[in-house]
């Protein structure tokens, strides 16, 4: 799409676009190029010089059981975060959509956790589930359930999933509510007159009309779980116990900065780059399709 009316000259537009191009070149393309370049090198044992190793970093990576485990961890984690945050949000949105008065107040009360940073959310949930003394763990102990996410893999995963989903409920709620309110009321009324009950109406009318919103949220939430939950994991588990909550982004950080294994970290960055690329294409395809409707 182009403008019919434009201004002439080329140095002014160049000047206008220059700040963005400079920042993009220096902080995006140069580092991304470096990641690709470094992924083909490995430092010698003394860290004095690096040596060209071709695909070796990638070969090592895909033979490293911890790295393969981080794929699986990322998949499970993203799936759970997406399902939990979307499920709760849809449930709340369905209820908020059914009331006439006061839905604005409910919306206000439900959207503000969106503004709480993942890292802060991590601290709040960690506080409730501190082994032995946290409010939740203490009551769990009382009913005979031993809570210690510092030692127990499954509990650690459960805690980071809940903490990551929590703030996300607001976001999904907003989009679901907007989607539900766009469903023509007349169609639902007609179905109600025909005697269709709530769940029947939901399955046959509302949910199909909500499909574009749902698909959009699915992609966006997976992207969130992949990249924006670093703060939650760093504050609650630091990837443990035994790397059971080390998602891929966390591993890039821990191998690159804590372990100082730059070649491997760079190779992992390249793998992530490909994954983001694919997710972006999926998102873009979806937007294109939406435009056709």
């Amino acid at each position: 799409m182009d403008k019919r009316v434009t201004f002439s000259g080329w140095w002014l537009p160049m000047l206008l676009i220059l700040p963005q191009l400079l920042i993009t070149a220096i902080f995006f393309f140069w580092p991304a190029g470096q990641a690709i370049y470094q992924s083909a090198f490995m430092p010698d044992p003394f860290g004095l010089k690096t040596q060209f190793v071709g695909w070796d970093n990638f070969t090592f990576l895909f033979e490293d059981e911890y790295y393969l485990a981080s794929f699986k961890t990322t998949a499970i984690f993203s799936l759970l975060v997406t399902a939990l945050s979307m499920g709760v949000a849809l449930w709340l949105a369905l209820m908020a959509d059914r009331i006439i008065k006061g839905s604005g107040t409910y919306r206000t009360l439900l959207i503000w956790p969106y503004a709480v940073a993942p890292a802060v959310a991590g601290v709040l949930w960690l506080f409730m589930f501190r082994p032995n003394v946290g409010l939740m763990s203490w009551y769990l102990d009382k009913v005979g359930y031993d809570w210690n996410h510092v030692l127990n893999d499954g509990q650690a995963m459960g805690l980071v999933v809940v903490a990551s989903s929590w703030g996300r409920i607001s976001y999904n709620f907003l989009f679901f509510l907007a989607g539900l309110q766009a469903v023509p009321k007349s169609v639902i009324e007609a179905a109600a007159i025909d005697g269709a009950h709530f769940w029947h109406r939901f399955r046959t009318i509302v949910f199909p009309l909500l499909a574009p919103t749902t698909f959009f949220l699915l992609v966006v939430n997976v992207v969130y779980a992949f990249f924006e939950t670093f703060g939650v994991i760093h504050t609650i588990t630091s990837g443990g116990p035994q790397q059971s909550t080390t998602i891929m982004v966390y591993k890039v950080y821990s191998d690159g900065f804590v372990g100082q294994d730059l070649g491997s970290s760079a190779a992992q960055s390249v793998v992530l780059l490909l994954i983001v690329g694919m997710l972006t294409i999926v998102q873009f395809k979806f937007i294109e399709r939406k435009v056709h409707y």
């Binding site: 002439s8 000259g9 963005q20 920042i23 009321k185 009324e189 982004v249 992530l272």
Partner: protein, 281 residues
């Protein structure tokens, strides 16, 4: 509208009850954090913790704000404010300008530049942390505001948003400006900017929250506690080893960390929702 679908009486009551229950569950972690910020450390190591506010509210917030653990919290709040404002304003300015260039001019490599900016969508900071860190370190920008802000300022999303908006601006306006002999910058400042007001405000709300809530980047960038931002500084308040964390002060800090972005969302709710929908489209 008839009440065929909306429930009345008892059923409506149940729906309200369900929503209130949902809100209570969602808000509970924050309520608990508030309680923890008003009691003494001693109250928190003897379970179960109290569920009503204690008497140490002023003492805890005073300790957090003016002494903190590594650095006073007011200092971290200041750093966060500078970073969030820098990112939000910086992104908006460079995007307004580059979108103007792309939409209103024909110049060599225009499409190439457009695609280069578009590609940055695929490069979140989490993916390129180690090499970006090295670039910033080589510029000597560790522990500086420019190091915190500049690498996060380029944004394809904002550029797209303004591009989309400019494309909806009637051509007659630019035509009229040209006939009147007004130059492009005059048109930009006098006509385009005032028309973009709502878009700028909506974007500002989203970008401010984005900047404020950054975690990984400040974590790498600021080794000097005086440069810590509040969101990443909270984790630094936990002692290493077996020492007990000072939970009341940590929780007071957590509440102070969420206050500015929460206020922005609640007070500017309509702009926030517009920004959210616009940036995700």
């Amino acid at each position: 509208m008839s009440g065929m679908v909306e429930k009345k009486g008892k059923a409506a009551w149940l729906v309200h009850l369900g929503l209130i229950l949902g809100i209570l569950v969602v808000c509970f972690p924050i309520y608990l954090a508030f309680i923890a910020s008003t009691v003494s450390s001693g109250d928190l190591v003897r379970p179960p913790m109290p569920l009503l506010p204690g008497e140490h509210f002023i003492a805890n917030y005073k300790e957090a704000l003016f002494s903190g653990v590594n650095t006073p919290v007011w200092n971290m709040l200041l750093n966060s404010t500078i970073m969030a404002l820098g990112i939000a304003i910086g992104k908006i300015i460079i995007s307004l300008l580059s979108a103007f260039a792309i939409v209103y001019f024909r110049f060599p490599l225009r499409n190439v530049f457009f695609w280069l900016i578009f590609l940055t969508l695929m490069l979140p900071v989490e993916v390129r942390i180690v090499p970006t860190y090295e670039v910033v370190a080589n510029f000597g920008m560790l522990n500086s505001y420019s190091g915190l802000i500049l690498p996060l300022v380029a944004s394809a999303t904002a550029t797209f948003l303004f591009r989309q908006f400019y494309l909806t601006v009637p051509d007659e306006l630019a035509e009229a400006a040209r006939v009147d002999g007004a130059g492009p910058m005059r048109f930009f400042v006098d006509i385009l900017l005032p028309m973009s007001r709502t878009n700028i405000a909506a974007l500002f709300v989203i970008l401010f929250i984005y900047g404020w809530n950054q975690y990984l980047w400040p974590l790498l960038m600021t080794t000097d506690p005086d440069m810590n931002t509040i969101v990443m500084g909270i984790k630094q308040m936990f002692p290493s080893g077996d020492d007990l964390p000072n939970w009341p002060v940590i929780m007071a800090t957590a509440l102070l960390a969420m206050l500015p972005p929460v206020l922005v969302v609640v007070l500017m709710q309509n702009l926030f929702i517009k920004g959210l929908v616009d940036t995700e489209k």
